[in-house]
Amino acid sequence: MKVEENPHVIEFLRQGGDSFMTTKVEAVINWSRKYSMFLYPFVTACCGMEFMSVAGPRYDMDRFGCALPRFSPRQADLLFVVGTITHRQAPVLKKVYDQMAEPKWVIAFGACTCSGGPYNNYATVQGIDTIIPVDVYIPGCPPRPEAVLDGLMKLQVRVQKEKVPADGRHREMHELELPVVEKPLA
């Protein structure tokens, strides 16, 4: 009798007697990436207060696998740009971004990083996307922690949809659409 006709084997598999799953390499790589984001907090201004709130235990970013701040860009996957970026600081931000290893993602946290926010003057960069590519924009002055978590979940959905090229390098994902996250059930 062939093994797949053996009723004991069929019953064993039917009941999930041993743990296994089938998947694609790409899916499992993206799955592990999206749940183990090491973030680099580039915190410059008042939004930092709200960032501390969302990173603290009450809102608990660790639920999304995004808790461990790395203060070295070489070890970080996710650049959190939090607060007003001035023209004087722009080269520093670019350098930090360039130093991060692929794959890397960027979140613009707050109105200032999205567009310059309340400041349209000689000193302020009118949106960090004039300097570095941005994956998710979180508006608000400052954004509510819930908004930040929503942005993080949107980023995770995006990461799950990425292509992982054979040479292992992450590519720009501007052609990926930004889907609406289904709300968690509980």
Binding site: H87, R88, A90, P91, K94, N121, Y122, A123, V125, T130
Partner: protein, 158 residues
């Protein structure tokens, strides 16, 4: 407790161009040439003892001559009294003696006034921009700095 403005007027009235007092806020407009001497007097004489220079800032009155003002806010911890000193500087040579020798806290505040208003402080020793970068042209808080002018170091001119 002596009224600081009255003491100043009695002792160095020659250096004070103009003065006024309202609701306890006393201001004296001082001849820029005499500034350091007046400030030393205010810091060192008994009964005044202005140990602290709490603020130093520039003002641009575009269209008026003298166009610029530098405003000094003095505070005496010992007597808990304050005095505001103003010097007026002409548009073509906005330049005044530095007070770093008198109060070291003047160092960065004078650099900021230079950065934002282009007011030069003689004998400062290290008069570099404080907040902006060396590549920046002009002084952005001057009233004739174009509101829309942007000087980014990298990225597009937005």
């Amino acid at each position: 407790m002596a009224d600081p403005l009255a003491v100043l007027l009695a002792a160095r009235g020659d250096a004070v161009l103009e003065s006024h007092e309202r609701l306890g806020d006393a201001t004296a407009v001082v001849d820029p040439v005499e500034l350091v001497a007046v400030m030393r007097f205010l810091r060192d004489s008994d009964g005044l003892d202005f140990e602290m220079l709490t603020d130093l800032t520039g003002v641009d009155y575009l269209g008026r001559e003298p166009r610029f003002e530098v405003v000094y806010h003095l505070y005496s911890v010992k007597h808990n009294h304050r005095l505001r000193i103003v010097v007026r500087l002409p548009e073509d040579a906005p330049e005044v003696d530095s007070l770093v020798e008198v109060w070291p806290s003047a160092d960065w505040m004078e650099r900021e006034a230079w950065d934002m208003y282009g007011i030069r402080f003689r004998n400062h020793g290290d008069l570099r921009r404080l907040l902006l970068y060396e590549e920046f042209e002009g002084h952005p808080l001057r009233k004739d700095y174009p509101k829309e002018r942007r000087q980014p170091l990298i990225g597009p001119r937005n």
